[in-house]
Symmetry: C2
Subunit: 373 residues, 2 copies
């Protein structure tokens, strides 16, 4: 029994054969054997093999970006993907991969290591954003796609899309990076570092050895609360909750939940903890801290200059505190300096880093326009 959370209707690509008997070579040098990547697709590949759109996800979501025949549940980007939607499945063959290292069906710290027949846990090798990009590239290859029309991703998926364009510059035409950055800055590192420490401080974490039934749920809950605080924006909460309170009668003791905002965080973090593996969280979170476009050329600008997509779209949100707007500006400046064709969309969404999930109006427009200009 693994610690995975398998998504109904997802396909699985077995990547080992792509790399021969040596398995999947990780960016930091380790070899990972029997790599499998969960993915879902919408629409059909054109006869010219020129309409594939590859989507990389944020840290905590699965390949289920939109509903489909085999899984009718809404996906995490339901408003974005479908017939006549901004990513139009009448026109494009859309592929969303579950990140290598994530627990929704891809090989990860939550999966069984076929060699030992035990859950990987901390035996999983150090994970890089580049590994996630490379696994996505292999999924496209396994589907017969040599060249993507567009690679797109929000948050961690935006970093992964950048990594894809750096590793496989001849394998995509267009790049869309949403609410992401060339590398994490210290404030963001500090948030993620503390999240990881909250998980690791839960005695049930037990140095990464636990079952689904004995998982460090309290540490995960605390980490998720901190995450939710960084995903949203102070002013949105001000409008939404202000100082509204629960009835005094519901308070069990002096330090119990009293304000609506405390209740919101408690409720939402509680929902999450039983839906994600703690070790996977640690690995993916650390990969985001470590990613740095500057490792692909000496400086961020030198890295970005190596990307030679036809069109690039950078999207950022002014209320984002996790990937602040000046980090998307940095990407735009780098493309500008290297004389690449790009568009930089600064959105005034009030929902902070999470805006791409909820601000349908603003995000639909910029993505629709990109595909139709």
């Amino acid at each position: 029994m693994s610690n995975e959370f398998i998504i109904k209707g997802a396909n699985v690509a077995r990547l080992q054969s792509d790399f021969g008997s040596t398995g999947f070579k990780m960016f930091k040098g380790s070899i990972l054997n029997n790599v499998e990547i969960a993915y879902e697709t919408w629409g059909s590949l054109s006869n010219n093999n020129d309409n594939a759109v590859l989507i990389f996800t944020g840290l905590s979501t699965s390949s289920h970006a939109a509903s489909s025949v085999s899984n009718k549940n809404d996906g995490w980007w339901e408003y974005m993907i479908g017939p006549n939607k901004p990513i139009d499945t009448n026109k494009y063959f859309v592929v969303c991969v579950n990140s290598l290292g994530s627990c929704f069906g891809s090989t990860s710290p939550a999966a069984i290591n076929k060699k030992t027949e035990k859950i990987y846990g901390l035996d999983f090798p150090e994970l890089s954003i580049e590994d996630i990009a490379k696994a996505g590239h292999s999924v496209l290859q396994s589907l017969g796609v040599d060249h993507a029309h567009t690679v797109i991703g929000p948050s961690m998926g935006g970093m992964t899309s950048l990594a894809y364009a750096l590793l496989f510059p001849d394998s995509l035409s267009n790049l869309i990076v949403i609410s992401a950055a060339a590398r994490a800055l210290p404030f963001t590192i500090s948030i993620r570092s503390l999240q990881r420490e909250l998980i690791r401080s839960d005695p049930l974490w037990n140095k990464g050895v636990y079952t689904k039934e004995s998982a460090p749920l309290n540490g995960m809950k605390l980490a998720r609360k901190l995450g939710l605080m960084s995903y949203r924006a102070a002013n949105e909460w001000r409008e939404r909750f202000n100082r509204a309170r629960l009835p005094k009668s519901e308070q069990k003791d002096m330090f119990d939940i009293e304000f609506e905002v405390e209740n919101y965080l408690d409720h939402n973090s509680e929902k999450f903890v039983s839906m994600f593996d703690p070790n996977c969280y640690l690995y993916l979170s650390r990969a985001m801290d470590l990613f740095d476009v500057a490792e692909h050329g000496g400086t961020v600008n030198a890295g970005l200059a190596k990307i030679h997509t036809k069109n690039n779209l950078i999207v950022g949100v002014e209320s984002d505190i996790l990937f602040p707007i000046d980090q998307q500006q940095e990407l735009a400046n780098g493309f500008s300096k290297a004389r690449k064709k790009f568009k930089f969309e600064k959105l005034n969404s009030i929902q902070g880093h999470d805006s791409f999930l909820v601000d349908e109006k603003n995000f639909s427009k910029v993505i629709y326009d990109f595909f139709n200009e």
Copy 2:
């Protein structure tokens, strides 16, 4: 043996007599007996009894705001207080009180309850910012001061100064509120709420029953890290740490401290945990969430309109994420609407909420100017 952390050279005012045999009446109605408040003074009271400056502190500092004959160690506001300094002890009789509920010598959850001869812990009654203000007022009375020249405080001390002006409008001439607010907003509440949960999640917290030797230090450390993240500003850290790393050889495992910013947080939170009582932290932190000027008149503006000091100074810092500048703007707007005399200083300090501790140049100037205009 209490859980207190007594400061060398501090005086103690016994407040019980001020309230007769019923003790100290708390804002929420409880009676607290045998209340003692630690305080320190600098300079001398004038013959006209018109030069007292009362300082309220932030959550985690003691009455030791500046060095003195009886305690030569630097205080937390050393640059601000002394002969010929902005708060000039040649001219003013300066009094800094340790907040009621804090562990530096004042009656608090860390002190012995004389009735039970046990440490208060969670038997301490619910604490309000107003109680801290009232205790400070009583200290002034015990020193023979009926009317303060100025009441001043940063952060929680700014809220306490506002509470003082609301509770004792005829007992002060001037008010200085630094990096504070009329009330906490949801983002700030969420930070403090999570800090409290981190302390309470440490098994050693044990529902508030612990000794100094068995205190929930890990929970305190995690809470302090989150605090430090909210006290500073992302751009300062970017300049200071960027992505600098420790030598790889110092890393014990994959998730160990690697970036300088992680090291800074670890080092500074470690220093703090053995210097503050966890239960006191919980009470003071909650008091800040609960404080609301609107409770003194129906709305924030109606509350502020009741203050009738001669001069008011509001100071805010544009990089502050804990008490954002629009909260000081709200205070300024309230004074403006009520046609009070006030000055609003927006500082461009880069050190976030903590700027009042470290940005000597900007803060010296605005406080000096206030006292000399």
